[in-house]
Amino acid sequence: MLNYIELLRQFVVTDFKLRYKNSYLGILWIILKPLAMFGVIYLIWSNIFVMDESYRMSLLLGIIIMNLFSEAVLMGLTSLMNKAGIILKIKFPREVVVYSSVIISFLDFLFNMVVFLIFTIFTPINTTFLGILLFLLCILSIFILTLGLSEFLSVIFIKLKDIHNLMIVILQLIFWMTPVYYTLDMLPENLQRYIKLNPLTTIVTYARKGLIMGDSIRVQDFMQVGIVLLISLLVFLLGRMFFKNRVTKIAEYF
């Protein structure tokens, strides 16, 4: 168990460190990159497409969450393959590799949130203790959901390389099926129903509500997020079973 945690920590720290090795600005990029990217989005949406202020932060938060989801899924998907060299030489709990890559995308998310907080200097947000709690529950759901999805995808990717390209397309589709650049009420009613089925719609909606419009939170909001959390847990448990069952059989397909 101790080694399990040490191994996880080692993979996270090493891979995170390696990302910025050999660049002049090094670790500064962690903040610089989202700062520049969000700056562009912020400037465009506040000057070219003029919208009300709170929407700007909603948009930013939506993009951050969707980035987190697709990064975590894509990094999880390639995680086993990227560590093939180690996996073929040593026996260790394989899921550590998958978890570490998902955790790395959550570290990125953490720094993105720091940048988000910097932007609140220009456009203040309105949150409460309960609001933050709701927001954290949403993030927990994504964490569990992406862990589960990664356990499926990383194993499938070993034998079926096409899944990588396929997932890029599917993630793009999911992005547009989630109200990030639009709000639900802009859509015709029959379409709204389908968009609401997407668990990410719930996550993005209530993460925004919690962090940006925190004073209007009700018990029902927690119930909605709770349902998504349960779905995520189910995906995770199924993923766990699939992974456990398959992972020793795939070593020779690397």
């Binding site: 040490e6 191994l7 080692q10 090493t14 180690i86 996996i87 030489k89 040593i90 026996k91 070593a251």
Partner: protein, 245 residues
Amino acid sequence: MSNKPIVQLKNIKKSFFLPHEKHDTFIEYATKPWRLFKKEGEQFEVLKDIDLDIYPGEFIGIMGRNGSGKSTLLKIMAGIYEPTSGEVKIRGKVVPFLELGVGFNFELTGRENVYLNGIILGVKKSRLDRKYKEIVEFAELGKFMDVPMKNFSSGMQVRLAFSIAIMADADIYILDEVLAVGDVAFQKKCFDVFREYKDNGKTVILVTHSAESVRDFCDRALYLGDGILHEYDSVEGAIDEYING
């Protein structure tokens, strides 16, 4: 020597699927689209029927030609491959050295790689902290530890890798041709370590092409040929089979 085997292999079979890749043209795929999904190939049986009991404290040598399945067999014992059929029972902690320096990253410094590789080998971080000095000394790399590993010579890399590897504490060591590393002086140090394993009653499984190391260390030698392990009355029998076919 206790009478309960520490490693037990029963009727191990292992076959691999060998795909026959022909570079098909677009026209061929268009006229026979099912070929996209059905890869042509054959099953190749590497290990046909392996039975092996290894007892605690034994130093076992396995010899065999290139491609005879030695590495596959080691990987099965190390739990990396699953046998196609048969049963593997291991009673104890295994550290396989199928390759030295597993997980080494050449962008990282020597020091960082000690921890990376050590933890992958299952060594506790606290133990690495304690043994760090010893590792550096054994590898003779005192002033290079904060240099990125890409600037190491290949001999230095191997020395560091070996020095970390011997810190791993296990009941069963699986060594795949890692003996032939470094210069003569360093090789001698490595052999001393093996002798120490032997004296401390560790179980070692060694795969090698060197008749000399088999003679020096092994209590028992086996010859792997045609997917079957051949056992002889003495170590010389296996060596003879290996050299003279």
